[in-house]
């Protein structure tokens, strides 16, 4: 039988089931976003402090991400369902063509056997053969249409992947995991820029260096071949600079964080736009003065408050519950927990039982949570965090290869990798 008459592989019913699950996920994600948002509004009803603004910002970002995730699951629902329809239709059509083709084949054999001396036989054989050729052409068109539908489905899904991981559509799922794992190591050198912020002027100098890094990242984005990596670096750098600004404001008890933010923005212009340097420099000087004016003399009280909230996280950094590489992992995750403003430490211990793949995924996941509270906490634990991040740089580097090596089935690895995360 001709190749074009072979039934296309696949299970449309299972595809419809999977599509329906994606649809439910879209609805569930939207509902979850609304529920979290309601809790955030409750928490912010009476909360008055600079940290509340950071909290609101982080919650807003999370809300946007959940919207985006719900949207993407909705797209997956439609794409998979459409492909299921195309596959079911193609299979039915090919089955029908195959039956017709087989019937003609039988007829051909019958005609050839029965009346070799009949003058009309050759003409009948030709007609039957032509009909078979037409059926093969039609079946070929169906197979082509199905391949086109598959390409469209893959392109639509890749467009969604592209949103999440720039360049992801050309990457394997393993590569995406490697990317997420490796992304953590970008943060490591950035933390090294922290300086002694006892003096507000030194804190501002440190931020200035960080802003220059942002400019360097911007250059990298414009010039570097690996634009996706540069973009990630830039985003992380900006998040961290923002977080460090919050740290400086918190440590020195600044009344008005906006002045510091204005200074940072002006510095960024200084670093990146040569033509506006004079105007930006004047704006930066003015904003810096405004910030220094807003610093309270009683800043020691702010530092004392910040210590209390993160003692438990810091303890896991210096005294991890496991030995060996798992102990190193504890220090990493303990450090992350401190940086993340107290992410669930029990959950961190739980995820370390999952092996490198799960840990790698979660390390990537924590990047999302890390930036927004780092400012409140980094100062009081800078030594421990420095040690933990030294470990993190090596550990994550080691585990990135293992994570990819260990992946046989990405979907199920993610499913098992997240087991126990929420302790």
């Amino acid at each position: 039988m001709s190749q074009v008459l072979t039934r296309p592989p696949g299970d449309p019913e299972a595809l419809f089931t999977a599509a329906a699950k994606f649809g439910r996920l879209a609805a569930d994600t939207s509902r979850t976003k609304d529920a979290v948002q309601q809790g955030v509004e409750t928490a912010l009803r009476t909360w008055q402090s600079p940290r509340a603004a950071t909290f609101a910002q982080a919650a807003g970002d999370m809300s946007k991400r959940l919207d985006s995730t719900a949207h993407q699951f909705g797209i997956a629902n439609q794409v998979v369902a459409q492909y299921a329809h195309a596959l079911a239709g193609a299979q039915a059509a090919i089955d029908q063509y195959a039956r017709q083709h087989a019937g003609l084949e039988r007829e051909l054999h019958g005609v050839a056997r029965s009346a070799a001396d009949d003058p009309g036989t050759e003409m009948r054989l030709q007609r039957l053969s032509q009909r078979q050729g037409q059926i093969e052409q039609q079946a070929g068109a169906v197979q082509t249409d199905l391949r086109t539908a598959a390409t469209r489905a893959a392109v639509a899904l890749d467009a969604g992947t592209e949103v999440r991981v720039k360049g992801g559509a050309s990457m394997s799922a393993d590569d995406i995991l490697r990317y997420i794992t490796a992304a953590w190591s970008w943060i490591h050198p950035l933390y090294k820029t922290f300086k002694d912020w006892t003096d507000p002027n030194l804190g501002l100098m440190s931020l200035g260096q960080g802003v220059a890094q942002t400019g360097a990242a911007l250059d990298a984005l414009n010039n570097w071949r690996a634009a996706a990596d540069a973009e990630l670096l830039l985003r992380q750098t900006r998040n961290l600079e923002e977080a460090k600004a919050v740290a400086v404001a918190t440590i020195h008890g600044a009344r008005d964080y906006r002045a510091l933010k204005a200074w940072m923005e002006a510095q960024e212009v200084v670093a990146s736009v040569a033509d506006d340097t004079r105007r930006a420099t004047e704006a930066a000087r003015s904003a810096r003065t405004a910030f220094l004016d807003s610093v309270k003399l009683t800043s020691k009280f702010a530092k004392a408050c910040a210590v209390v909230g993160v003692v438990s996280g810091a303890w896991d950094v210096v005294d991890p519950p496991h030995e060996g590489w798992r102990g190193a992992g504890d220090r990493v995750m303990g450090g992350v927990a401190v940086v993340a403003g107290g992410a669930q430490l029990l959950a961190m211990a739980g995820l370390l039982t999952l092996g490198p793949v799960g840990a790698g995924i979660v390390a990537g996941a924590l990047i999302v949570t890390a930036a927004w509270t780092v400012g409140n906490l980094i100062w009081d634990h800078r030594e421990q965090i420095g040690d933990a991040l030294e470990t993190a740089g090596r550990w994550v580097g080691d585990q990135a290869g293992k994570a990819v090596e260990g992946v046989k089935n990405v979907g199920s690895k993610i499913a098992s990798g997240i087991k126990g995360l929420f302790g």
Binding site: F22, V36, M62, T69, R147, G341, A343, A365, N409
Partner: protein, 94 residues
């Protein structure tokens, strides 16, 4: 300053309201992974299967990240409530 104002009871309530749905993101990311697996296996087409795996790796991870983010937000609100209680205790003792 980080802990200058707020009602601890309201903050605790907010933390609980945030944490409950945030924890639901874990089974949802598992469901995303299994849906991706199911669809990839059933597609019968390697191009679609690979795209589904990439999609699941990216968006399953995103759900997971937001689960962690939500739990962290709840933790932050709870810490704020605790600090406010501790602060009011200190003032009463003083």
């Amino acid at each position: 300053m980080s802990y200058q104002g707020g009602d601890p009871g309201v903050l605790e309530q907010g933390a609980t309201e945030i944490e409950r749905p945030a924890r639901e993101l874990e089974p949802m990311s598992k469901a995303a992974a299994s849906s991706g697996d199911g669809a990839a296996g059933a597609s019968g087409n390697p191009q679609v299967a690979e795209a589904l795996k990439r999609f699941t790796a990216a968006w399953g991870g995103e759900l997971l990240a937001d689960g962690v983010a939500g739990v962290t937000l709840a933790r932050a609100a709870r810490e704020q409530a605790q600090q406010l209680r501790a602060g009011s205790g200190d003032r009463a003792a003083g």
